[in-house]
Amino acid sequence: MKTKPRTAPQRGFHFDYLMWLFTRLSALAMYLLAIVGIIAALLMSARQNMTVADLMRWAFMPNPNHVANTNVPDVEVWKGIFWQVMGILILFFAGAHGLHGLLNVLEDYISRTWVRNLLRGLVFLVWVLMSAIGIYVILTS
């Protein structure tokens, strides 16, 4: 049986290449945001008042709820527009990075084109929905 030749991947800038690059760059961005969170927490008296586990929770998502159960004297200092923007940035990078990764894993096990397109749409919708819920939680906490 003669096998059908596969179309060669498109060269240059196209969506899959951009997402490949985005996955790498968003990883670096998340490292940067986490380091900013850790340094700022240490400057805001984390060394005396927080455990390493609390510091890591703050680094992954700088949300005042994550320091509410620690010994920090004033939780009000840990709220504010700066930390909300930081949280939304982390949510954006982590959400896009994670759901694109999920799509990559799923597509490795699916060969039918229409199922792949359906999944792409579905994962995009999940991303929009979860980002909206996450931003709502960040802005209201």
């Binding site: 790498r24 959400g95 994670g98 996450g134």
Partner: protein, 129 residues
């Protein structure tokens, strides 16, 4: 698309990919674990603040506050973070791909002590201090 898998599961498991293959598999498992955890966590923190969903939010909280789940999720997060940094460095500076095996060894040297210490702390907490 002519994407047909001609390799069965058992044959795939016998593939002798060694170190790089192991990190590839663990990177996938770790990534999926993080996606599941973050999705649950966003939902739980949203539900906990709603009058109609407080008990559902607290129920989801109890799942990932369990120490067995913490052992799993900390493995996912730490391995995905460290292995991801290796992938980023080797992909963005391709001349370094020559040292991939050394990079994987280095990665395990960083990962194992941190995970080991965390494991002791989590299990001690799980068994009641």
């Amino acid at each position: 698309m002519g994407l047909k898998r001609n390799v069965g599961l058992m044959e795939g498991l016998r593939y002798q990919g060694k170190g790089p293959m192991l990190t590839y598999i663990l990177h996938r498992i770790g990534g999926l674990g993080i996606v599941i955890f973050v999705a649950l966590h966003i939902l739980a923190s949203f539900l906990s603040n709603q009058a109609w969903g407080t008990s559902a939010g607290i129920f989801i909280n109890t799942i990932y506050e369990h120490w067995l789940f913490q052992i799993f999720i900390f493995f996912c997060a730490l391995f995905h973070t460290i292995n991801g940094l290796r992938i980023v460095i080797l992909d963005l500076w391709p001349v370094l791909i020559e040292y991939q095996r050394e990079a994987i060894w280095l990665e395990w040297f960083v990962f194992l002590p941190i995970y080991g210490i965390a494991l002791i702390v989590i299990i001690r907490g799980g068994l009641g201090g």
